[in-house]
Symmetry: C2
DNA sequence: CAAAAAGGTAAACGCTCGTTTACTACGCAT
DNA sequence: ATGCGTAGTAAACGAGCGTTTACCTTTTTG
């Protein structure tokens, strides 16, 4: 038993990410792997099954990453108090790691593009896209800033996350990927400083309030 | 002669925007219009022709809008000196108008979604996506800030444009569209203040320099 | 008013799609 | 040695694809 099933999944994902699920034929996937389409059906029940295996695998990988980074996975739900006061520096570092992941990790980058192409086809795809890349991370950031008791956490979350999201797209279409990464660093540096300023201001205000009591 | 050709184009666009070009059949387009697919071929040479007519029409509409707003169209090339010092307030207002256009205008919103789905299929689609929605507007903003002689114009452009770009996506997946528009306003308000501060700082610095000479 | 053009239908074309079937060769336990 | 699961091929299946054809109305026009 070779890792054929895995090879099929990765090849299919690469094709789905370029042309979309419907536009990729089972023959095309098999052809790319140097076998006939009949062979694919020894490993997957049907075309849909390949697609859903990709989704399942992303879910697994996401959960694992979330556990490693000690961060709530996918949709930000309730997070443990331990991370309510994540230092600003850690946040910026985490954001940069996330950017590298979604642009440079072969599986994640392809998955992101595939989801981008499927997002309007039905509710579930739209939900997944938002969860992994859109409102999901944005909501998570909002909760995080709220946890830091910052004023206008949603506004700050937009300011923090929007550059990442924009540069995902710019990265995909860029000749010089390096330059885009540099732009992200530039943006994250600015965000870090801004947040640091906000949190120290807040602390000072809190101190003043405590003096009054 | 009714506007049948137009109706075909708009219906096709709506379907392309939901499922992507390949996934939409000629029969599906015709069916949605209550006619048989044979009839479509009286108005368009083939399926591709419909698609390309959509592109051509967007190009026309974009050029027209660019002329109205007195702003270089599509890719920001050389812009007339007259707009090199566009006041900050005008820029924010223009940005809000653009956001409304790409989210609420039926044709533009569908076109944006369609292009989103087609962006990875070949170079031309990728180029168009970047031109209309990605690196294009970003580069335009960069040039604009450079024209204002701001320091780090690219960084400021990211900060300005990224929220718009993110909220396009969030808007698409949101239940409460109104709330997303409010978030955009919030972001634009912040950007306006930030820019105003930057430009007045710059002016003061320029004044100091002039004193020395 | 006749001719022609425009706009539509229904059916067929060749092709490709996803899927199933029948068959083959190999690896490996018992 | 035999029997069985595994991984593959080649061919066929019905369905649907984009496109073309033949034919019919209706509208426009000379």
């Amino acid at each position: 038993m070779g890792g054929t099933k895995e090879r099929i999944l990765l090849t299919a994902l690469r094709l789905f990410a370029a042309d979309g699920y419907e536009a990729v034929s089972v023959s095309a996937i098999a052809g790319q792997l140097g076998m006939t389409k009949g062979a694919l059906y020894k490993h997957y029940r049907n075309k849909r099954d390949i697609f859903e295996s990709i989704l399942a695998r992303m879910e697994r990988e996401d959960a694992q990453r979330a556990a490693e980074y000690g961060v709530p996975e996918g949709t930000a739900e309730q997070m443990p108090d331990a991370y309510r006061h994540t230092p600003v520096d850690d946040m910026a570092a985490f954001a940069r790691a996330q950017f590298r992941y979604w642009t440079q990790d072969e599986f994640a980058a392809s998955f992101r593009r595939m989801l981008t192409l499927e997002q309007y086809r039905n509710d579930e795809m739209g939900r997944l896209y938002q969860q992994y890349l859109g409102a999901g991370p944005l909501g998570y950031m909002t909760d995080l800033f709220e946890g830091l008791a910052l004023p206008r956490p949603r506004k700050e979350a937009v300011r923090f996350y929007a550059p990442m999201f924009l540069l995902y797209s710019v990265y995909d279409g860029a000749e010089d990927k390096e330059a885009v990464t540099a732009m992200l660093d530039e943006a994250m540096e600015a965000a870090r400083e801004h947040l640091k300023r906000l949190t120290t201001e807040k602390t000072e205000n809190d101190d003043k309030k405590e003096e009054k009591t």
